[in-house]
């Protein structure tokens, strides 16, 4: 089922084209990554889908309904960037109002809020006001509000930005656990994180759609990515280049090596044998290039 469809979707701020004629069709299912450099239009795209802002041209439908339609209430949820709960009231009180607006009765609203706070591991935080919580906890509370009523689509705008590793793990785990019943679309600069979570990528740059498709399919393209913790670089490159089928070996960031194979050759077995022979331990071997390398390499 088409979960998001856009046609010529554009947004201008004065003379600046924040989003330029986006034509897109995305299916429900596995999480979708929305990536692009700063100012590429990711937040604008999310804001348009949520109906926070109005398009300058074009249109978008979500789950077959026009954006902003009342029919989407409870089906579409979001973690908007820079949106905060009212600092004057407890988390639970505010989430209960949101649940009631989604049609939950008094007791049911309370139970639903308990459920979503439990998912984000913040059962005890309901009585607190947002100002009493850490940044990571506030982010998880905002994610909790998006889970109310099990919506069909959740848009998460930078869910892990500025979050410490333990909170990142909690957020990643909850996205994984909820993915069976909800389609997530996640905007982030953390490509490693997105690669772990998402199967589809939408890549924006300067307000334009550059690419949209499956991460796995497009990544298995004659490359191997190998991560070695502490191996003499020159020696490894020399040994690796000798292997039949290896076209080029290139050192990347984080100790990764990008190995380009000639067409029709699979060098992974030979590579592993060479590593064993030299007594070099490897951390991981990935078929294809990393998302970061593919997009920005």
């Amino acid at each position: 089922m088409n979960i998001i469809t856009t046609s010529g979707l554009s947004k201008n701020y004065g003379a600046v084209k924040a989003l330029d004629s986006i034509d897109l069709s995305l299916e429900s299912g596995e999480p979708i990554a929305l990536i692009g450099p700063n100012g590429s239009g990711k937040t604008t795209f999310f804001s348009l889908l949520c109906g926070f802002i109005h398009p300058s041209a074009g249109s978008a439908t979500i789950l077959g309904h026009k954006v902003g339609s009342n029919a989407l209430a409870g089906k579409l949820a979001a973690l908007p960037q820079d949106a905060h709960l009212d600092p004057r009231f407890s988390v639970k009180r505010q989430l209960q109002l949101l649940a009631r607006l989604q049609g939950f009765g008094g007791r049911a609203a309370s139970q639903e809020v308990d459920r979503v706070l439990d998912i984000v591991l913040l059962s005890d935080a309901g009585v607190k006001k947002p100002g009493e919580l850490s940044h990571g906890m506030r982010k998880r509370v905002s994610i909790a509000q998006s889970l109310i009523g099990n919506p069909e689509l959740i848009l998460l705008d930078e869910p892990t930005a500025g979050i410490d590793p333990p909170n990142v793990k909690i957020i990643r785990d909850l996205i994984r656990s909820q993915s069976a019943k909800t389609t997530f679309m996640i905007s982030s600069h953390n490509l490693d994180e997105l690669e772990k979570l998402c199967s589809t990528v939408v890549y924006l740059s300067e307000g334009k759609l550059i690419e949209s498709g499956l991460i796995e399919t497009s990544s298995e393209d004659g490359y191997l990515t190998l991560r070695l913790p502490s191996v003499p670089e020159d020696e490894f490159v020399r040994e690796c280049s000798k292997l039949t089928g290896v076209l080029r070996v290139q050192r990347q960031a984080q100790g990764d090596y990008l190995i380009q194979q000639t067409e029709g050759h699979a060098v992974d077995q030979a590579l592993l044998a060479m590593l064993a022979k030299n007594g070099w331990r490897y951390r991981h071997l990935i078929k294809g290039r990393s998302l970061e390398e593919r997009l920005y390499g």
């Binding site: 979001a78 820079d82 949101l98 509000q145």
Partner: protein, 267 residues
């Protein structure tokens, strides 16, 4: 259902927050002073020469003021002061219908669950009900005072109270609608109050200029919220309802403008 939930939440925003209680306590103190020093001695000084001089100064003619139209001096004083005091309080207390939630981004959590129209109308209804509560509580204190000081005058005061309540309810209607519109346009309650007051004063000057140079256009006399107050203050009994169409029409227009603004604005 959403409108009711949003409206009820306005009451929570008043009664369950420190800022709400600060407003309640401030208003209560002002009201107690007013009750003690203005309304309580009303019967004795309304007939004095000094008082008629002050009223003449404020309203032009003593004979044309509320005092000749109301049998209860306390109700008459409440009528005059609340007609001018309560709208001012409304411009402060009803200023944050949309503004801070929009600036903070909280509005985004709401619009994913209900329409902008429901939020706008719900907030307006909630704030208006709060203003009605203020009217009822303040007039109850006046009636309590009458019952305590001069029980024999209570039936008269009770018979006149409904006229005052209905008229004040109509007067405040357009002020709450004005603040609903203004709070969509700015980012804080303080800005909303400032814009409402400055906008009202500038509009008043502009209307005067247009009337003097290009007028008269009778309709312009009734454009601003409260424009009927100087006429209303001189009326008594149910004759006052002859001016009711003015705040109702103003409310419809202001809410229409606010509804248009909130539908078009970015959140």
């Amino acid at each position: 259902m959403s409108v009711i939930n949003i409206a009820l939440n306005e009451w929570a925003r008043l009664f369950l927050s420190g800022r709400g209680w600060a407003a309640i306590i401030t208003f209560s103190l002002i009201w107690l002073i007013f009750l003690n020093y203005a309304i309580a001695p009303a019967a004795s000084y309304v007939s004095s020469a000094d008082f008629s001089f002050i009223v003449q100064l404020l309203f032009g003619s003593f004979e044309q003021t509320a005092f000749t139209n109301w049998k209860s001096a306390e109700i008459a004083l409440y009528w005059i002061f609340s007609l001018y005091l309560l709208p001012f309080f409304t411009m402060i207390s009803a200023a944050d219908q949309i503004a801070s939630d929009r600036a903070r981004g909280t509005m985004r959590f709401l619009v994913l669950r209900t329409s902008r129209t429901n939020i706008f109308i719900g907030r307006f209804v909630g704030q208006y009900l709060i203003q009605l509560l203020i009217i009822l509580v303040t007039i109850a204190t006046v009636l309590g005072l009458v019952a305590y000081k001069s029980p024999e005058k209570l039936p008269v005061a009770l018979s006149e109270a409904p006229v005052v309540i209905v008229n004040l309810a109509l007067v405040l209607l357009s002020y709450v609608a004005l603040m609903a519109l203004v709070s969509v346009l700015v980012k804080s309650a303080r800005q909303a109050t400032m814009l409402a007051i400055v906008g009202w004063i500038l509009s008043w000057f502009l209307i005067g200029y247009v009337q003097n140079n290009f007028g008269p256009f009778p309709v312009l006399d009734w454009v601003l919220p409260g424009s009927q107050l100087s006429t209303l203050v001189r009326l008594g009994s149910w004759d006052t309802l002859s001016l009711a169409p003015i705040p109702i029409a103003q409310t419809v227009i202001l809410l229409g403008l606010g509804w248009f603004a909130i539908r078009r604005c970015d959140l």
